[in-house]
């Protein structure tokens, strides 16, 4: 095959879709075709369900799928996070066994990274994995795990070595979730939604063959997953699939399932899109003070949009990436907070009510009680400030008190009482 061009790729995918896309196929059957053909993950290697295309040409394939309304590979963290991580760091055996089912949607995945005791300091995790013959035995607790309640596999980080500094004793596992040692409990947030889970690991077991990368070298693998996660967040913009047919119906169902935990995310971001309409509707736009705040908010929101666009254009010109990742994240916090305040200013007393009694059927109230999450989830504002200062401005790091010594000797959070849900949670007063 000669060097692919945009035109050649477009012609090829178009021809293949013309020959194979059939909206009336069962979804799984169609996905098997995608996996066989490599058109589902065109930038993956030809040996592993892909076509080895440059990433820059991926969008051509997407465009053609969109043009004919064809369903792509499964949504969620399987193909977006686990897939690329396994491709980069997994053994051939793991690639063989795990990639295809996550592309077809047969297996869904969840991430088991954060812990109650290690939030910002992810590398300070204390879930332990102990070798037992050909297996590892896992004990500990994970938290903030989206989709863990139905996932087949988990991307698990656990500590296998306590005698070395914290980054050097972590191992990355592909953990089978459906086993007795694992209990998943929904975690309710302050806005009433329960879109995350807590995962309790009590003598859960995982085969040594399921280590991704090498034992004790899992931190590098985790960084790869986190990089893919940032990319996923910046790309996630999925509208509902149009069209009719069995494959499409099944795909919509799958999508609804995967996206369910994210239903309040627009509210968490502040619903800037509603502000002008609300100001007009309520007449509050007549108040000069409201107008000032609206102008500030919209200016900030546009500035953030334009900054992201500027960064994209610069990358398009081949210039190195800048601070836009952390800036975008921080802006989203500022915007969410400002938007909530503007909504409160506009709605006034009505913002005291929620649900169907509340302003805009409770949407405004949900904004108010969701925005505090924006500056915490996915890396707190404080962490983003550190990243900007150290990576973009080159300011020196703080003197570290923990990275130089065996993790065993590093101060840690006092363990919260084990919360086996079977035994009740009375002791927990955090």
């Amino acid at each position: 095959m000669s060097e692919p061009s945009e035109a050649s790729v477009r012609a090829e995918v178009r021809a293949w879709l013309e020959a194979h896309w059939d909206p009336e196929l069962p979804l799984r059957e169609w996905r098997e075709k995608l996996a066989d053909s490599g058109w589902g993950c065109p930038s993956w290697p030809e040996a592993w369900l892909g076509r080895g295309l440059p990433v820059a040409l991926e969008h051509v394939v997407s465009q053609e799928f969109e043009r004919v309304g064809a369903v792509g590979i499964a949504a969620g963290s399987g193909p977006w996070l686990a897939g690329p991580t396994i491709l980069e760091h997994g053994s051939d055996e793991l690639k063989r066994s795990l990639l295809r089912p996550l592309v077809t949607g047969e297996h869904t995945w969840c991430q088991l990274f954060s812990e109650p005791g290690s939030g910002s300091d992810l590398a300070g995790l204390t879930t332990r994995a102990e070798r037992d013959g050909d297996e590892f035995v896992i004990n500990g607790q994970k938290v903030w795990n989206t989709s863990a309640h139905h996932a087949d596999y988990g991307m698990l980080l656990a500590r296998t070595n306590w005698e070395v500094p914290k980054h050097r004793g972590i191992t990355y596992f592909a953990l089978e979730m459906k086993q007795p040692g694992i209990t998943v409990r929904p975690l309710r947030q302050m806005n009433g939604h329960a879109s995350f889970n807590e995962v309790f690991l009590n003598d859960a077991r995982v085969s040594a063959a399921n280590v991704i990368g090498e034992v004790d070298r899992g931190w590098t693998v985790a960084l790869a997953t986190l990089a893919h996660e940032r990319r996923m967040v910046s790309l996630r913009r999925e509208g509902p699939l149009p069209g009719r047919g069995r494959a499409l119906d099944e795909a919509r169902e799958e999508q609804a399932h995967v996206m369910a935990p994210y239903v309040w995310y627009p509210q968490r971001a502040g619903r800037v899109d509603l502000v002008l309409e609300r100001a007009r509707e309520t007449g509050r736009g007549d108040d000069p003070i409201v107008r000032q705040e609206i102008a500030r908010l919209i200016s900030l929101a546009r500035a953030a949009t334009w900054t992201a666009q500027r960064a994209r254009e610069a990358r398009g010109r081949g210039r190195p990436p800048g601070p836009e990742g952390s800036i975008g994240k921080l802006c989203s916090s500022h915007i969410a907070r400002a938007a909530a305040n503007v909504h409160a200013l506009i709605s006034g007393a009505d913002a005291m009510l929620s649900g169907s009694d509340g302003a805009l059927d409770g949407i405004i109230a949900e904004v108010l009680v969701s925005v505090p999450g924006q500056s915490i989830a996915g890396g707190t504002d404080e962490i983003q400030h550190n990243i900007l200062a150290e990576r973009s401005l080159g300011l020196p790091r703080e003197p570290s008190v923990d990275t130089g010594k065996p993790f065993r000797d590093v101060p840690k959070n006092v363990a919260r009482p084990a919360r086996d849900p079977g035994r009740g949670r009375a002791g927990d007063t955090t």
């Binding site: 005291m352 009510l353 109230a365 505090p372 404080e382």
Partner: protein, 391 residues
């Protein structure tokens, strides 16, 4: 203006704190949040019988204890600390305040002792759909009918309106507008033609209701509208009631903020990340320092306003909106920053941060948003003053 509490007042605070910590722990707040009434009548009865709180600030002549707004402020600070679920603010502050400021002597004699003893709970029905806490926002009309009045219209954001034994209604005489023609009426909670619906609230620890009046028979409790009577008397009584309530709310808010700051600082001392307590990082440390500054300012302002309300002199007019606006801002900011400092756990339902956050946001808007109070303050400040005075 006295800005420090006496040893006796501090002792009184300790008594109240002990009672509230015993009777309103977090688990109890969370239980009551989910109930319709939103409070525990047994605790209310105890708080009335043992401490006499519902009548603390009411004159002894009306069955109260005759303490001042300063002591009331202490009580509200303590209630704010524990997010007490009780009709105290709605009944003892708002409704009793309205009766005290607006009612005839006979009506005070009749109604206040019932509220002071905690035996009856009253609600003040003022706000209407426009959400305005002022005279001009009142459009519900009281039509004179044989020997009494007939009320028609809707009131909303009525604290404890769905459970109150007695509703004090602010209404206007037919044909009046603005600050003219306002009067206060009483209606039994179970009056015919009165429909009461509990509203779903952001802050589940303080219940609100919408009241629909369809030809409801009502007693007028404010002074008779004789030929020579001042048509603005009702509006003035309302303004005094609201100033007093704003000061009370500021004190309640400051208690919550103080408690939340303590909890958050404690967390910052014990939570370890990167091998150090997070409170040793300047990012967290300076946030806490800044909150301390804000909370201390808010405390001073709340105390000043309480003292001004107790003196009932010229200072109250400026102190009330100043306190409501500044303390609202501090309270909300403290709650938001507390969640941020707690990180993920602060965003969960099981942690108490959000209860304070919702109370703060809701209190910010109750009795009017901060910008409205700042506007009122600025109007007062910018009035042309007598020669040379440039404070």
């Amino acid at each position: 203006m006295q800005l420090s509490y006496s040893d006796e007042q501090e002792e009184f605070r300790r008594v109240v704190r002990r009672f509230l910590e015993d009777h309103s722990p977090s688990a109890e707040v969370r239980r009551l949040m989910e109930t319709n009434a939103g409070y525990d009548p047994a605790v209310w009865a105890k708080l009335s019988a043992e401490l006499g709180l519902p009548g603390l600030h009411l004159p002894e002549a009306y069955g109260g204890q005759g303490f001042s707004t300063v002591e009331l402020g202490i009580v509200l600070q303590e209630m704010g600390r524990v997010l007490l679920c009780a009709p105290f603010f709605g009944s003892s502050v708002l409704a009793a305040g309205a009766i005290l400021n607006a009612a005839t002597e006979a009506k005070k004699q009749e109604l206040l002792p019932l509220l002071a003893s905690g035996e009856r709970i009253a609600a003040l029905a003022l706000c209407e759909a426009a959400g305005r806490w002022d005279a001009a926002g009142v459009s519900l009309v009281a039509t004179p009918v044989d020997g009494g009045f007939r009320l028609d219209g809707e009131k909303t954001y009525v604290l404890d309106g769905h459970t109150a034994d007695l509703v004090v209604v602010v209404a206007r005489s037919p044909g009046s507008s603005g600050e003219d023609g306002l009067a206060f009426f009483s209606v039994p909670g179970d009056a015919a033609g009165l429909e009461r619906r509990r509203l779903s609230t952001l802050d589940a620890t303080r219940k609100q209701a919408r009241l629909t009046f369809s030809g409801v028979r009502a007693d007028r409790i404010s002074g008779d509208e004789t030929a020579g009577a001042d048509p603005r008397a009702g509006a003035r009584a309302l303004a005094r009631t609201l100033d007093f309530a704003a000061v009370a709310l500021a004190n309640e808010m400051v208690g919550g903020a103080e408690k939340l700051l303590e909890t958050t600082v404690e967390y910052a001392k014990t939570r370890v990340q990167f091998g150090r307590p997070i409170g040793s990082f300047q990012a967290i440390k300076h946030k806490c320092a800044n909150l301390l500054l804000e909370v201390e300012l808010a405390k001073s302002v709340a105390m000043y306003a309480a003292a001004a309300a107790a003196e009932d002199g010229d200072e109250l007019a400026e102190a009330a909106p100043l306190a409501k606006a500044l303390v609202s801002d501090v309270s909300l900011h403290t709650a938001a920053e507390s969640i941020q400092i707690h990180g993920g756990i602060g965003f969960t339902w099981e942690h108490d941060c959000h209860l304070y956050f919702k109370r703060a946001r809701s209190s910010e808007l109750l009795l009017g948003a901060p910008n409205e109070h700042r506007e009122r303050l600025a109007q007062l400040l910018l009035r042309q003053r007598p020669e040379g005075e440039t404070r």
